[in-house]
């Protein structure tokens, strides 16, 4: 059954807000999603009734907090079809997840002759860690070409995958254009060449079914805050054997089983904790994990296939209306909605993206403006910046109608 955005809206207190005397229309979902009352309530309930540190004590509260936190890992593992909690490491977000792989796996495995393959449509979080690490390890970072419409040039990409390629790092969905990449196709070729694939799922996991086994991904990084959960919690999925073989990223409490001082060597010998705790040093973001668990349950009740269809419907509705409302409006990236999900980058001739965003803000409509942390793709499009409307489960056709109405006003300026 299709999702009912009007029913869903009742769960989101913030959507009743007025901004500049207009009903809030939130079209900045690619930056972060709003939070349903179920998630807000579960976080509040955690602090009111179960707050304690995890895996540290035998008392009742700590046992409850530990159980909730472990259940959160279980829920997330199940959501993406990972084998179990040992394959789901909780981190701060996608950026930290990618950095974890870069430093924990990359430092051990990348050497001078090796190549890391990245696409030109990546968010800076999937470029900067590899460029930084290459300065230390002297490997090559190579960039796969993107076509003029923002889609990936698969033929050129596949030719770049060689036996020197050690890891391919690419987004599942572009945060600028909404282009959906065929990561299963690239994963297959990567594995044929003995390379790994790391997928940035920040814009896919919240919006469509993602099954790590079907796609045969080695690593998948995503953020909780883009999928109804609190900020500061995210996930790194990794195949168990890979995570087992990696050294920890951060050192400290929680991630060790034993730290033993030897009077003979005057050194400490350390054994790591089991997965996923080996990669979760220090006190984790427990309430964030609990919030993420509730967010996942909320999305599962709706059904990810329904989420995907709803956003596709909104995108198919919005794109032609945006083009029709003014000749000065240009939509960047693919013009065919079937090549993308619910992200629409656009510009208005004579206005900067920030002008557009502030104009819309006057009417209570929130869109993102700027580079969206993807400067290389904007340079490819020869754009200084872009405005971006992005949809989620609570957005409606009526909101798009209002958005179009306001865009028509811009024509007058």
């Amino acid at each position: 059954m299709a999702l009912d955005p009007y029913k869903i809206r009742e769960d989101f207190p913030i959507l009743t807000r007025k901004i500049n005397d207009h009903q809030l229309i939130y079209f900045d979902n690619a930056a972060t999603s709003q939070k349903p009352k179920q998630v807000i309530e579960v976080v509040k309930n955690f602090y009111e009734n179960h707050n304690a540190n995890v895996h540290r004590a035998v008392h009742t509260l700590s046992q409850e907090a530990s159980e909730l936190y472990e259940n959160a890992h279980e829920e997330v593992a199940n959501f993406i079809n990972a084998k179990g909690i040992e394959e789901t490491v909780f981190v701060r977000g996608t950026t930290e997840a990618i950095n974890l792989v870069a430093y924990a796996w990359g430092l051990q495995n990348l050497k001078r002759e090796d190549e890391v393959l990245v696409t030109l449509m990546e968010h800076h979080s999937n470029i900067v860690p590899w460029e930084n690490l290459s300065k230390m390890q002297s490997f090559q970072v190579k960039y796969a070409q993107v076509n003029n419409d923002g889609t990936l040039n698969y033929e050129a990409f596949e030719k770049m995958i060689t036996n020197k390629t050690k890891i391919i790092c690419m987004s599942h969905v572009s945060n600028v254009t909404g282009v959906v990449n065929d990561v299963a196709r690239i994963a297959k070729i990567a594995h044929e060449h003995g390379a790994l694939i790391l997928v940035d799922g920040a814009q896919s996991v919240p919006h469509m079914p993602v099954n790590v086994k079907d796609l045969d991904l080695d690593f998948l990084a995503f953020s909780g805050h883009k999928m109804l959960a609190p900020t500061g919690i995210g996930v790194l999925y990794g195949k168990r054997e890979l995570l087992e073989s990696m050294e920890p990223f951060h050192g400290g409490g929680e991630m060790i089983r034993e730290v033993s001082f030897s009077p003979k060597t005057r050194r400490c010998s350390i054994t790591w904790n089991s997965l996923p705790w080996k990669f979760e040093a220090g006190t984790p973001h427990i309430s964030g994990g609990v919030g993420l668990m509730e967010a996942v349950r909320y999305l599962k009740r709706i059904g990810m296939e329904n989420v995907k269809k709803h956003e596709e419907t909104l995108t198919r509705y919005a794109m032609p209306h945006m083009k029709e409302c003014s000749k000065r409006i240009q939509i960047y990236g693919p013009q065919d909605p079937s090549a993308k999900c619910g992200i629409i980058p656009f510009g208005v001739e004579g206005l900067s993206s920030h002008d557009i965003a502030l104009f819309l803000d006057n009417y209570g409509i929130m869109v993102r403006s700027g580079y969206h942390c993807a400067q290389p793709l904007h340079e490819l499009f020869k754009l200084n910046s872009s405005a971006r409307a992005s949809f989620y489960i609570y957005n409606t056709r009526e909101e798009i109608d209002k958005f179009i109405e306001v865009l028509k006003e811009i024509e007058r300026f």
Partner: protein, 89 residues
């Protein structure tokens, strides 16, 4: 700096090659700030008090009825503060 502290809530440089600075006026002072600015700057275009294209001295900028303004291609924050001081005094 007094007049800026009176009227300005925050200023933020934007990302991108457009070196824009967005000024947000204090909510309870925005109407007064807009009135002062419109009294000093020259209006070139506007839509129903939602957006104004203005020039002041050699600077062009846009002012929004929601209490925000975008200044472009300024050297630094000192230059911005100097313009804002002149506009809001």
């Amino acid at each position: 700096m007094g007049v800026i502290e009176d009227y300005v809530a925050r200023t933020e440089g934007t990302c991108g090659k457009d070196k824009d600075i967005i000024v947000t006026f204090k909510y309870d002072k925005k109407d007064e700030a807009i009135k002062r600015i419109l009294g000093k700057a020259k209006v070139h275009k506007s839509i129903a008090r939602i957006i104004f294209e203005l020039t002041f001295k050699n600077y062009s900028f846009r002012l929004y009825g929601s209490g925000k303004a975008i200044f472009r291609d300024l050297k630094d924050k000192e230059e911005l503060n100097s313009i804002l001081t002149d506009l809001l005094s």
